[in-house]
Amino acid sequence: MGARCTSCGAALELPCACKACGALQPLATERDPWTELGFEPGFDLDEALLKKRLLSASRLVHPDFHGADAASRALAEALSARLNRAHAILADEARRADALVVLLGGPDESTSREMPREFLLEVLEWNEVLEEARQAHSWSATVESLRDELAVRRHGVLADVRALLAPTPARGDGRLQPARAKLNAARYLDRALGELEALRLSATRS
């Protein structure tokens, strides 16, 4: 990467702090999540390594270890917030893919809301079942099988995204548009699954 510690000049493994001398690095423009955690941008990621890096980076930048003065603490807070955000994005496949599409110059969620055609037809059917479930406020066999179906579909959609984004395409590549469409579908599925889970939990309560 080439970045060096502003305090001791050692090569930086991670941009937020120096492992050699412990110095917090100054706050620069926000980096993409891969750079923040020392990875090459891409869809595939070693999750065990990601966790290890989060833990060791946290030990360097967490405000609990920089409470000596207000300025250090404030810097530590800002660096930790960035680190945690980067980790949250990389730890979730869909968010990771979304960040990758944007990083490669592809459309982001607000500019392109389209979903694959055939998917839209299924969405209409699913919405009907969801609406019934909302009204009944209960967990039935129908709703459970909808949940299972959506979970399987999500898995499939993300496999499709992976096929489009791995190996990592070039900037502006034509595959970024369909990848965005698939990610919009994944987002719908995540929302629906989230709602179903909330319904399941509240139904168990009563």
């Binding site: 833990l55 967490h62 609990d64 807070e77 955000r85 939990l201 168990t204």
Partner: protein, 625 residues
């Protein structure tokens, strides 16, 4: 050449400035702990309980009474004895209607929507009352340590406390004259105490059922990092509610047998509450308990046996509420119960057998309670305090924000900015723009919670942005950064980016105590503080004089043998005066007495130093020294 250490007269030890306390500020009890001799230890005065009841009593005249002495006034003076204060921290009147219905004291609201409790016509905020409890805890800690306890503290809060509740806790500590290093979530603190003791890797669930609040936290412990995966809870569920279930049963039966008026007054209600609490505690170790209520003035002596089965049926809905939160936390962590390695029970009410059984059944394993469930939170806070004063770098807490943070949109819905269970510190930026030409301000409403409508969430208040440079509608690009810090507290900053000027926008929160209000309270508490300070100084000086007297008396024979006549007489007179002065209360008089005594002891000190030096040097040649 080395220096031989001489300890001649016992010198008073300087107050411990280096350390920090861990304080569990509980709904029913509070206590302090400190890291000492390589481990966290609860600070206990010999012969007393370590637990300080979180109760404040205001007598008709004189200073407020805090702790056990206050608790004892609950029946005789129910309107003047305030308890469960934690339930009111950071709350508005509307939030606590249910609680207030069962409590004997009057409450009102300030214009900013803060709750105040009224005693003897004076109003007190929960922050002021909690500050009194914290002072008492600090004072107890000092007595346990034998010197002034550190004023730097880590204070714990329920994991499910929202932003206003956390700020109220910070304000209370500030009012008590304490420097808050960190606010730590109770289950996370408990896991710290437990982690040191038992396990260094795994997924742990902490089930924390306290006096007034319930939290369940799922954590991953790995390489010394305690990382919270999810947390859920209920800030209106605790041991108090288990008591209330028995109270309801008793009231119905007493009213039927003796008429409702017999329990009309506040004193009787308190007596009943305490009798039910005793019965609940009995049932934790015996299959039958008894509610025994005696009110001589009403010629009432009522006994009601309660079996464990009956109690369990009564409280089953409460236990189920806690299990609902467990399911939520597990769902958010995306883990099935089988993936959990250990379950830890925290909080006095976790001793209830029905609770233990239900938790064991849900997680499919026996929960741990080797550490005293009343003390484990304070112990964990002490560990964190030790870390923060720089003494321990191999342990780190990574906690989460328990509630989603959002902004109210035009239609009254919530636009979520930060998801619940996001690791803190965390930040998110949201863009706002103006809807009218030359609009220089924007108002927005921030809420915490999971509901779709802002009205159903917890309001953190309205924020005003001011100082936007005038420009056509829709052109201003105001970036608002929401930052939740390691304590779980929100800060909002804003910048107008479109104009290129990057002007920093002024953000006014319209809730909680403003800095001015806290200063005001501090100023009025300074009235008492000055008296307190004088009283403590007097106490410290009296102790110091006592120590010096003891040291001199121990060495009187040496003095008589070695001092010249004049110095000896001087010393003996000073000794007699010092012993008399030690009974004084005035700090100035005590200071004078102490200084005089010290001056008179100097010849003896010199004499003893020579003696000791001679003994130490005996047997050594000059070359060796």
């Amino acid at each position: 050449m080395g220096y031989i250490e001489l300890n001649v007269l016992n010198q008073p030890v300087a107050p411990q400035q280096q350390g920090a306390l861990g304080i569990d500020l509980g709904t029913t009890h509070s206590l302090a702990a400190i890291w000492k001799d390589g481990r966290p230890q609860v600070l206990r005065v010999e012969g007393e309980s370590a637990l300080v009841p979180s109760v404040v009593h205001f007598p008709r005249k004189g200073a407020p009474v805090v702790g056990q002495a206050a608790r004892e006034q609950a029946i005789a003076a129910p309107k003047d004895t305030l308890f469960s204060i934690k339930r009111f921290m950071g709350r508005g009147l509307g939030d606590v209607q249910q609680e207030l219905a069962t409590l004997p004291y009057a409450a009102s609201e300030t214009e900013r929507g803060l709750i105040q409790l009224e005693v003897h016509g004076r109003k007190y905020t929960p922050e002021q009352l909690s500050a009194l409890v914290l002072r008492k805890v600090h004072e107890t800690a000092s007595r346990a340590l034998g010197e002034t306890a550190p004023t730097r503290v880590v204070v714990t809060v329920p994991a499910y406390f929202d932003d206003t509740q956390r700020q109220a806790t910070r304000d209370a500590a500030r009012l008590a004259g304490l420097e808050v290093l960190r606010i730590v979530n109770e289950p996370t603190a408990a896991s710290l105490a437990y982690g040191l003791d038992q396990r260094d890797k795994g997924v742990v669930v902490v089930y924390d059922l306290g006096g007034g609040t319930f939290d369940v936290t799922v954590l991953s412990i790995e390489e010394g990092v305690f990382r919270v995966l999810s947390t859920a809870g209920d800030t209106h569920l605790g041991g108090d509610d288990f008591d209330a279930a028995l109270v309801t049963l008793a009231r119905t039966e007493i009213a039927a047998a003796h008429g409702a008026e017999v329990l009309a007054d506040a004193g009787c209600q308190q007596a009943l509450r305490l009798a039910c609490e005793r019965c609940k505690i009995e049932l934790s170790s015996a299959p039958r308990g008894e509610i025994h209520l005696v009110i001589p003035e009403r010629r009432l002596a009522w006994r009601r046996e309660v079996s464990r089965e009956e109690f369990e049926a009564l409280v089953a809905p409460l236990v189920e509420r806690s299990m609902a939160a467990c399911r939520q936390a597990m769902s958010d962590a995306k883990l099935a119960p089988e993936r959990i390695d250990e379950v830890v029970l925290v909080g006095g009410s976790s001793r209830i057998p029905a609770v233990r059984a239900r938790v064991a059944a849900f997680f499919g394993r026996k929960p741990h309670s080797e550490l005293n469930p009343d003390e484990v939170v304070a112990l964990g806070a002490a560990v964190q305090a030790h870390i923060l004063v720089g003494c321990k770098r191999d342990i780190l807490l990574l906690d989460v924000t328990p509630l989603s943070l959002g902004v109210e949109t035009m239609g009254g819905a919530v636009s979520k900015i930060i998801q619940r269970n996001s690791t803190v510190p965390c930040s998110a930026t949201e863009g706002f723009t103006t809807y009218a030409d030359d609009q220089t301000g924007i108002d927005f409403h921030i809420v915490q919670g999971e509901r779709e409508l802002a009205a159903d969430c917890r309001s953190l208040g309205r924020f005003k942005l001011r100082g936007i440079p005038p420009m056509p509608a829709g052109m201003a690009k105001v970036g608002v950064r929401f930052h939740i810090d390691a304590d779980g507290v929100l800060t909002v900053t804003a910048k107008e980016e479109g104009s290129g000027a990057s002007a920093s926008i002024d953000v006014q929160p319209m809730h909680g105590l403003t800095d001015a209000e806290v200063e005001g309270m501090l100023a009025s508490s300074f009235e008492h503080a000055k008296d307190d300070f004088e009283a403590r100084r007097a106490a410290d000086l009296a102790t110091e004089i006592g120590t010096m007297v003891h040291a001199v008396e121990k060495n009187l024979n040496a003095a008589r043998a070695g001092l010249d006549k004049e110095s000896l007489l001087d010393l003996e007179e000073a000794l007699a005066r010092a012993k008399a002065a030690a009974r004084e209360r005035d700090a100035r008089a005590l200071q004078k007495a102490r200084d005089e005594f010290e001056r008179a002891s100097l010849p003896l000190a010199a004499l003893l130093m020579n003696n000791v030096a001679q003994k130490a040097l005996m047997g050594r040649s000059l070359d060796e020294v």
